[in-house]
Structure formats: C-alpha cells, structure tokens
Symmetry: C2
Subunit: 197 residues, 2 copies
Amino acid sequence: MEQVGILLFNDFETLDVYGPVEVFGRFPEHYYLSFYSLAGAVISNRHNVSVNTLPVNERTRPIDILLIPGGIGTRTAINDEALINAIRTTGTNATFILTVCTGAALLAKSGLLDNRRATSNKRAFDWARSSSYKVNWISKARWMQDGRFYTSSGVSAGIDMTLGFIADRHGTAAAEAAAAQIEYLWNPDRTNDPFAD
Amino acid sequence: MEQVGILLFNDFETLDVYGPVEVFGRFPEHYYLSFYSLAGAVISNRHNVSVNTLPVNERTRPIDILLIPGGIGTRTAINDEALINAIRTTGTNATFILTVCTGAALLAKSGLLDNRRATSNKRAFDWARSSSYKVNWISKARWMQDGRFYTSSGVSAGIDMTLGFIADRHGTAAAEAAAAQIEYLWNPDRTNDPFAD
C-alpha cells in the first residue's frame, strides 16, 4: 500500500484534487489517500470546499506519491518559502510526484523539476514558465512524464494523467476499467492536447 | 444568487460531487455552494474524503438547486427514511433538482420523480430502476432533463449534465467557456451516451 499525499493550500482548484482522488480511490489495494497542508489546518477554496488536513512536516508515514494541485492560490503559494521547502523535502523522498495545472509551477519553484520536461495549464502557461526557466516546458501535451515526474495540463487533464499513471504502473486494462467505471472518456494519448494554442 | 445545496451521505462518490462543484464554482455571480447532510456531521467516503456539513433540516436559506450524488452509500441511504423525507421536503421547495449516478435512485424513492423521464449509472441501472417503477427510466442518455429534474449517468456524466444545466440557463457560450477553462471536452449532446449497453 502506497500513500498518495495531496498537498493543499488555500484556493486550490477543486477538480485538480478530486479528479485524481476519484481515480486513485478506485485502487484501494494499491493506494490510500491523505490530505496535507503546511499548517495542518482547514484548507478552503472559492467553491466553498473545505478540507481537514494533516501537517505535512509532521507526517508519520512516508508520502510515496506526492500530488500537487493548481488553482488561483498558487499565485500566493509560490511565494510561501516554507511551502516550497516542504515540497522540496517531501518530493525528494517521494517515489513519484504528480502535479495538475499550475501545481507544476510550485514544483518548478522547488527546483526539483530542473532540466525535466513538464507541462501546465494552457491558460496560465506563461506564468507557469516564469516560475523557473530551468524547466523544459512543453506547451503541447495533455500531460508529461519525465522519470518520476508527471505534470498535467489544466484541471480535467489531471484525470487523464492519473489514468495514464495507473496504466504505466498497473497496465492499460486497469486504467481502461477505471475509466469505464466512472463513465469517463479517457484520453490515453498524452500528446493529444485539444487545448494547446 | 442561488444556493446550490449538495446533500451528502456516507460513502458518496467523490467525483459525483466535485465535478458539478467545479462547474458551478465557475459562476460565482449566479451560484454559491453549500454542503448538507441529514445530521450536519462530518461525512466521509472510502476515498478518505471528509466534508463538514450543515444539517439539511435546519437550513437558514432555501436550497434553490438541490444536488444529490450517487455512490455505494446509496445502497444504505435508500433505506434511511429520514433522509428520503428530507429529499422530498427540500426537493419540493427547490427550483431545480440535479442527481448524479445512483443519486437518482434516492430521488426516485422520495416519489418526486414519479412519471418523469430519468437516467442513472449504466452499471447500476437495474438497481436504480428497482428504487421506483413509477419513474420512466431511460437507459441510453448521458443525462436527462424533464421539467425541473436533471438526472445524469455515472460519475463524470455529472460534469456534462452540469454544463448542460448552465447552457440551458445561461447559454451555450457560457457552458463552452467553462469547459474550456477546465480543459474539459464537454459532451453537449445528452443523447450521446458512450456507456449505454
């Protein structure tokens, strides 16, 4: 059993989190989900979604898979040095790191994405790029995979990426079965990005 | 401003809730979101998602749009007479009622769907149908609209339905804009159901 640790901050994007949660949640034999934040407080967003979180720096079990969402809150979070440090520390020890949307900018800021190929939201791409020029930003990709790093385009692309992650680890049939269960038309081709340009 | 009241119960399906939340959340000029349950307690599910809810029978403002998710918890919830009564009372006074997945079975049980055309999850369709034979169940539909009732197929169909609801009320361009913002390929045709049969 691997822990999927989701690192939240205020004004995260709702579906960036709960799309991947729905997919990982379909594989309870492999994954369990935990919700973290820097302070371990209640985290909320503009959709009136609030989440009780655990303090990430006091985690009692290693985060095997770190998931970082995007959202308008990234504009503030990127200047939160303690949060970026927590991403660096947690991410260094994680087996895999997944980002959705502008979550890639936070990961880039930590330095862990240096010299990696990565993507982000197409509507905030210039902003994401500005978070680090050491990243090889790919502007046309539904999601990117480079080593242990998976980065997706905006919001619902996180569902496609997580299904792709499942396919990489557990086979395409497993991903296809999960997609069918949630009646979702999975885009399995990470180079097929209908929202580029 | 209309209140979208989401009625939760334990073991609701994650994306049934947060897909529509992401769409409604894109229209803060029209909608605000509230999370309810029968007891007003913390509601959780098998994905380790927990939600602080308000008690639905003590609501202080009318629920204009009632949203009922599905999930494995519906199998228990359908026998909870107090919950079904709350659906009947709240739904009677709501302007619109939306269900995702097997949420339709709970609404059907309340009697409010009698003689209406409705759909549900394609993998639990027989169970949904058994909740009430007074409903005109439609087995091939991404979502159905009959008067003030919107019912969708499984899980991610709730996103398509909510975008359809937005289109009906605010125009297709508004729905298309929201879909583009979340980089989601909206299926705008409710008769196009790739998961029927």
